[in-house]
Amino acid sequence: MLEINNLKSRIGDSEILRGVSLSVKTGEVHAIMGPNGSGKSTLAQVVAGHEDYEVSGGSVTYDGKDLLELEPEERAREGIFLGFQYPVEIPGVNNAYLLKAAVNAKRKHQGLGEVDAFEFLKLAREKMAMLGMDPKFLNRGVNEGFSGGEKKRNEILQMAMLEPRLAILDETDSGLDIDALKAVAEGVNTLRSPDRAIVLVTHYQRLLDYIQPDFVHVLSEGRIVRSGDKSLALELEEKGYDWLREAATA
């Protein structure tokens, strides 16, 4: 579904991704781990189409199409969802309003009519109950004054409503309490299906206890230096990243 081939990306003068290759097939769950500043968020942003990151080499295809040709909103409507590491606040814009606009943008793209207001609310309430979110959050400004954990849950709410084919979750587990972590994991597991794929960026094994990944990759200094199955995550938990760095430079 997603084929990343020798992807290079820079911001200003510094090269941040230095040749990343990754193949994600439908039905799979991939975890990307790696030290701070290694380029995990950058990779996610490039896939989502952030214009600040210049693609200086390589290719990304999605269902065989050149993804880099598409505008960010087109990528989203084609089913790519990014759960942001730092969700932005949009004061004054009603959370439900943004959610509905997003759902409708996607439906329009699929040639469907606008969602029925009643159905929409019903569905949103259901998803919120699953995530342990108070329905009050629908009427707040988008992420406005939300706590760190609340913002992350809100990202998952959006994901649950949009039912993306490819969900990339950038440290959605950071800052969550135990209950929230379970709720988020449940949200992700519900989405798991043979025609969807999930990429989790995380620092913690904890999340992977709840969402079992098929593959684990380690990104270091802009390259994937090691890939393996879920046992790799356990190994990292035990040994840290240094042994991999040494292995990579040796």
């Binding site: 189409g49 942001f84 814009v93």
Partner: protein
């Protein structure tokens, strides 16, 4: 980058070249201003002696006044002798005969704004007879209003039919010599609206509906007088969201509101004058004096405005809070795009005891526009217990625009409580990217953020206009980003 709405405006611009009718043989006066011109205007309108006297005195006062010179707006010098102060309405031969002859781009805008079908023809300047039978609709409204004793008519008609009321209230809120443009208006005003709500009457309808069906082109010197007698209530809407064009660059209107004991006036404006092209050429200069007088105890005057048009807007809807416990409110959204200059704000003058005022101003700047808010809160020595809350927010779209806030406070009574809050925010690239990642286009994202920013003001507008005002903002800001 040229926006769609500008393109559309410049297409409509073609009609501008026709200029206005100066056929002396029919009805128009040649350009120029002196006492004879004023006598001629008054004679043509068949005015009583007191009106002529009033106009002449205003003219003499105007001659001694100097045109103001403001720090934040710039415009070329106006030659007052090049203006024709009485021009006949455009003859029907110059107008399109039906909507089929109207520029499709203009019709497209009406569509975007959700203007009702039956109003489009009139707005597009189609000859009135061909439009629809406005007379019967108007008559129904008139009868309904007459049933409860509400007077709502053109200013000229009021001068003929209700001279005592006109004489009693005209110029009592905005005196002739109040300022340069008010004096000019007093001398030469062509027409406008007159409203009187009798004691204890709650006006049975939004006066907007009626107004929109009947508003002829009232011209560049318009005068409105609204009187709400004791215990009465009225909501009035001026303007229209459709792009309004006029051959006259200079507009100097005067609006006077009088609220007697326990009365309430809600005055809403949605204005969309032609702002000029991308370089500001051809836009309207809009210098307006609007003032409400809360003359009686417990009276209330509320101004709500959404302004997107004009090359230059200079206006300060104000409230004189004279009655004990009287309340003044000002809710404003002002959008300035491209080369527009907006200098707006309000004045709240607290005179009576326990008077209170609320100011909510939302300024949006895009392109290279400058948006200035100027607000004066004055608490007179006798105004014990006066309260004011001012909230002044600016939103910037893009990097070349500016917003300026000038709060002035003159507090002469120690018991007054005055609060001022101001914020400036930008639509950030991160916010836009976040929305786009959710599948929402950049334009829709901007609209969403702008509408969120203006929510507090929109909720003050009558329902139907809130929807139109929102659509209007979206159209005005098309292409503002990117």
């Amino acid at each position: 980058m040229a926006t769609e709405s500008e393109n559309l405006e410049s297409l409509v611009n073609r009609r501008y070249e026709h200029g206005f009718v100066t056929d002396i043989a029919t009805e128009s006066l040649p350009p120029g201003l002196d006492e004879d011109v004023i006598r001629a205007i008054s004679a043509r309108k068949n005015e009583p002696e007191f009106m002529l006297e009033w106009r002449l005195q205003a003219y003499r006062q105007w001659l001694e006044m100097r045109e103001p010179d403001w720090a934040h707006v710039h415009y070329p010098k106006i030659d007052y002798n090049e203006i024709s102060y009485f021009s006949a309405p455009k003859s029907d031969e110059d107008r399109p005969k039906s909507l089929d002859e109207v520029d499709p781009k203009l019709l497209e805008t009406y569509d975007k704004l959700g203007i009702p079908l039956h109003e489009r023809a009139r707005l597009a300047g189609v000859a009135v007879d061909a439009v629809f039978d406005s007379v019967s609709v108007a008559t129904t409204f008139k009868e309904k209003l007459a049933d409860v004793g509400v007077i709502f008519c053109s200013f000229s008609e009021a001068v003929q039919e209700h001279p005592a009321l006109v004489r009693k209230y005209l110029g009592t809120v905005v005196p002739r010599r109040d300022n340069f443009f008010a004096a000019l208006n007093a001398a030469v005003f062509s027409d406008g609206s007159f409203v009187y709500i009798p004691k204890g009457v709650r006006c049975p309808m939004e006066l907007s509906t009626y107004f929109r069906i009947n508003a002829a082109n009232t011209g560049q010197f318009e005068r409105t007088l609204i009187i709400a007698d004791e215990g009465s209530h009225v909501s009035y809407l001026e303007g229209c969201t459709a792009p309004m064009r006029d051959e006259n660059q200079l507009h100097a209107a005067v609006v006077e509101l009088v609220a007697l004991k326990d009365a309430e006036i809600k005055y809403s404006t949605v204005q969309n004058w032609y702002p000029g092209d991308e370089n500001g050429v051809g836009g309207i200069y809009n210098f307006v004096t609007k003032r409400g007088d809360c003359r009686g105890a417990n009276s209330k005057i509320s101004w709500t405005q959404v302004e997107t048009g004009s090359a230059i807007t200079w206006k300060y809807p104000s409230c004189l809070l004279r009655g004990e416990n009287s309340v003044g409110e000002f809710y404003s959204v002002a959008v300035a795009n491209n080369m527009q200059q907006a200098d707006t704000g309000t004045k709240m003058i607290h005179i009576g005891r326990n008077t209170s005022s609320t100011i909510v101003s939302k300024g949006i700047s895009a392109g290279r526009a400058e948006n200035a808010y100027r607000g004066l809160v004055r608490v007179m020595p006798q105004a014990h217990g006066a309260r004011n809350h001012t909230q002044c927010d600016s939103l910037l779209i893009g990097k070349q625009c500016g917003a300026h806030t000038f709060p002035y406070m003159e507090i002469k009574n120690p018991t007054a409580r005055v609060e001022h809050e101001a914020t400036t925010s930008k639509i950030s690239a991160d916010q836009l990217f976040y929305c786009r990642q959710r599948g929402i286009s950049e334009e829709d994202a901007v609209n969403m953020i702008v509408n969120g920013f203006c929510k507090e003001v929109f909720k003050e507008l009558p329902m139907e206009f809130a929807v139109e005002a929102q659509a209007l903002l979206n159209v005005s800001l098309e292409g503002a980003v990117g």
